[in-house]
Symmetry: C2
């Protein structure tokens, strides 16, 4: 039996378009027969490396204004609630650390969707540990333990390694989808192409030339 | 009888994603029952206003490298030839002026497609008047007259007015689609949404509330 193709989903909790992908990738991948590998990371260090100290949507107001309108339309099209969190971007460091923790235990997808839904569906402040504790409780995870483990040196180092990987692969935004052969797709608008690529490559490798 | 809905298609001749839209918008709009209003313009002044002296794909190499790969994939998906012109971006001033000339006479769509096909399909230099003359000849337009008319003060002023309109509307990239009610859609990935918007608004206005 062939293994299912997989696709890495690299996302940033403060990223608007990552929200759209996070809410729909599980169903879309299931329909395509692809396994999703959830890869939380931070855009801050990547933006910082090119001299940006905040989101490019704040640095370039015309693009930012358009993005908020586009998000309203796209969220409506995908039947997702949407509101603009304050401040934008939210501090996503703790959420990313917690999300990494859940990978081995399998609760990262539920946690990720719950964080994005709180942030962009309800305008909650996801930089607040109290908000993250509520979210953990709601998905059945003991919040004190998880929040403490998230801040251990071992877990912080794990996020730093993910950062280094993102930078070495040349990521510049989120969401970014990475196929097993290294092919990269950027943006919620490329989820379908990324899944199709993963499936096509897997079929090709079944019959080596 | 209700008038057909229309959609303005703002494009820049040196823009890669404008190429993809230019080659497919006529068929897509016809299928949707929408009239396309072709609006050539220049991104240079808009980029210059935010301090960029070249394409952001040159200023941000990671994004640029990704864009060329994405263009290869998207062009293949749309069954369009694709090659990378040198230099990039091409000087698109004369092509934009010529394209404006053809609007009243109806040959702007043919000219636009021919310029994009020469540039991104064959790697020709569209800043060269000789190349533009060949293209004009191929679509049945006398090149000497058109190139001379393109450089008249009246026609130059027409392009400046288009620029002013683009800037006053807050455009920041190309292609940009503008619906009759002022709704703006940016990027080849939004052509379908822009057409759907134009159709939906037109249907709504048939039955005033």
């Amino acid at each position: 039996m062939m293994p299912r193709p997989s696709l890495e989903f690299w996302y940033e909790f403060s990223s608007t378009y990552s929200y759209l992908s996070a809410m729909r990738i599980a169903d879309a991948a299931e329909n395509a027969g692809v396994t999703v590998v959830w890869r939380p990371f931070l855009l801050g260090p990547i933006f910082g490396a090119q001299g940006w100290n905040t989101s490019p949507f704040n640095l370039y107001p015309l693009k930012g204004r358009y993005m908020w309108r586009d998000m309203e339309r796209e969220a409506a099209r995908l039947r997702l609630p949407f509101c603009r969190p304050t401040p934008f971007p939210q501090n996503s460091l703790l959420a990313a650390r917690v999300a990494l923790l859940g990978i081995d235990k399998g609760w990262t997808p539920d946690f990720t969707r719950a964080v994005f839904a709180a942030e962009f569906g309800k305008g909650r402040n996801i930089g607040d540990p109290v908000v993250l504790a509520e979210i953990l409780t709601a998905i059945g995870i003991a919040p004190e333990t998880a929040l403490a483990e998230a801040e251990t040196e071992a877990n912080k180092a794990r996020l730093r390694r993910a950062e280094e990987e993102a930078q070495s692969r040349g990521f510049f935004g989120a969401p970014t989808f990475l196929a097993e052969d290294g092919e990269m797709f950027w943006g919620n608008d490329r989820l379908e192409q990324a899944l199709a690529w993963a499936v096509e490559r897997a079929n090709r490798s079944k019959w080596p030339a």
